[in-house]
């Protein structure tokens, strides 16, 4: 063996791959099954009465099982938003677009949703919106079932009604 063969190793690649089954869980499965039917399904805490959508099954405040299933309406309020202008890898939506935090009516937590059918310079906090679902034969147990949210045309929600959810 020559000296060259004993040159110090300065770098090595060690490929890693691990495969997993994912367990959505009893509570989230209800929400996912709801998407497949074109419905928002949440759960209410028996103690603090807050409604979570999606629900993790346990109230993060009280640590008790949220066993009451609540079907939420299609309508909600934009609590805050972001206008995306910067291209990125894997981008599938035409720029610019609006990413909004949607607080469904009757829910106590907001989630992120795509806003369409409104010019980007007209979006605002308090905007009233509704979900547009994909055609029935394209519904599935995932959030892709919601095509986007669009304005309902109602007057804006009063700031007081959503200030706790920002």
């Amino acid at each position: 063996m020559t000296e060259e063969n004993l040159a110090p190793v300065t770098m090595l690649s060690t490929p890693i791959r691990l495969d997993y089954d994912f367990t959505a869980g009893l509570a989230q499965s209800k929400t996912l099954a709801g998407y497949a039917q074109g419905k928002f399904i949440g759960q209410r805490c028996p103690k603090c009465k807050q409604v979570y959508v999606p629900s993790g099954g346990s109230c993060p405040t009280d640590g008790v099982a949220m066993d009451e299933v609540v079907e939420l309406p299609n309508t909600g309020t934009v609590t805050t938003y972001c206008i995306v202008n910067v291209p990125f890898a894997g981008q599938s939506i035409e720029l610019p677009y609006i990413c909004g935090q949607i607080l469904l009516d009757g829910a106590n937590i907001s989630f992120m949703g795509l806003l369409q059918e409104i010019p980007t310079d007209e979006v605002r906090m308090g905007l009233r919106v509704e979900a547009v679902w994909v055609p029935e034969d394209e519904l599935g147990p995932n959030l892709s079932s919601v095509k986007y949210f669009r304005p309902t045309g109602e007057p804006d929600a009063d700031y007081e009604t959503f200030k706790e959810y920002l």
């Binding site: 060690t14 691990l18 009893l26 499965s29 993060p60 640590g63």
Partner: protein, 361 residues
């Protein structure tokens, strides 16, 4: 009544409540949080306490079992942490979370702590997942499976004349037999040693019965310091000694037939200061029980793993904490006055924790 003076630490701390979910090959519908929720509810109910009574929360789990980040943060939903709680986590068996909580209690600022651990081995290929804890340069890239590694250790034991395949089978038979009395155990049966020895090798010299089951489960305990422990349980299981030691991750630099770290921890925890009635040992593979038992210095009079031990149920990140809970249970029910609990973490008994639990006689 007063707590026995601890050998390690200044402040007496006791295990006062314990709950565990049944160990199953696959918890199918519930996710980790949902598997943990009833266990947390039960450990509080048994202690007649709530989350608001807890001064500290510490958990043991690993994202590598779930394949997702920050699973321990999601798990906090099972407790409910509002108003905000002082909380910590170890990426180890929850026995080490108990150790961290015990250290916190030694400071004298808080009197109570909740400790829990959870793991679902069923979500991935556990042998590949556990290869991730090996050194990433020379050992990890070979992806050695955990059974083959345990076989190296078993071979070292046999070659030194420190055990026999017969003894491995006897350990498995005893564990599964004792597990018949434990509704939370997973492998519970009555198979004669001679029949076990007819099994083919999984990896020589390990037959299938020397391997721990793949388990999904969660466990939790409540620690209480000082006289408050008597408000929770009639006969608290006082931690009179606790210590943990770690050895090098390089197998080639270790004598695999012995466990130096366990022996050191046992000495510091004061195991030899009195007779031991029962011991709950966390040697997931049958030969590892031989090594741990020898290292702690337990003679034949000591009842080993009356719960069935890890050969009957081995939920990752919880099995070590379960040893402590099971040993404490023997103190509470009066069947033991002095008990030893052992937990291991890392490959081939790399890191070991030894705890001595005592009840008033």
């Amino acid at each position: 009544m007063s707590a026995p003076k601890p050998v390690v630490g200044n402040r007496p701390v006791a295990i006062c409540s314990f709950a565990q979910s049944p160990s199953l090959r696959r918890v199918d519908q519930a996710n980790e949080v949902e598997m943990l929720m009833p266990v947390i509810a039960e450990v509080f109910a048994k202690a007649n306490m709530t989350k608001d009574d807890m001064g500290f929360i510490c958990s043991g789990s690993t994202d590598y079992l779930i394949g997702g980040p920050f699973s321990f943060v999601m798990a906090l939903d099972a407790v409910g942490v509002w108003p905000p709680k002082s909380e910590s986590h170890v990426e180890m068996d929850a026995a080490w979370a108990l150790y961290e909580a015990w250290v916190q209690l030694q400071e004298g600022v808080i009197d109570t702590a909740l400790v829990y651990g959870f793991g679902k081995s069923s979500l991935g290929d556990l042998s590949r997942v556990l290869a991730m804890q090996l050194d990433p340069y020379t050992m990890g890239p070979l992806w050695p499976d955990q059974v083959s590694l345990a076989a190296l250790q078993a071979r070292a034991l046999l070659d030194r004349g420190l055990s026999t395949e017969q003894e491995f089978a006897e350990i498995a038979a005893r564990s599964r037999h004792d597990a018949l009395k434990n509704p939370n155990a997973q492998v519970r049966n009555e198979i004669p040693v001679a029949e076990l020895l007819e099994e083919a090798y999984a990896v020589s010299p390990l037959r299938r019965h020397t391997l721990p089951p793949l388990s999904d489960a969660a466990a939790a305990v409540i620690l209480v310091a000082g006289d408050r422990a008597y408000d929770v349980v009639d006969r608290p299981a006082w931690i009179t000694g606790i210590d943990h030691r770690v050895e090098t991750h390089a197998f080639g630099a270790r004598d695999l037939a012995v466990s130096t770290s366990t022996a050191m921890a046992a000495k510091i925890a004061g195991v030899g200061n009195g007779p031991v009635d029962i011991a709950e040992l966390h040697g997931p593979f049958a030969p590892q029980e031989v090594i741990v038992r020898q290292a702690i210095g337990l003679d034949d009079s000591v009842t080993i793993n009356p719960s069935g031990g890890p050969l009957a149920a081995n939920p990752m990140m919880a099995a070590g904490l379960i040893r402590m809970g099971e040993a404490a249970s023997r103190i509470w029910d009066g069947s033991a006055t002095r008990a030893v609990a052992h937990a291991t973490s890392g490959p081939l008994l790399q890191q070991n924790l030894v705890c001595v639990l005592e009840g008033e006689s």
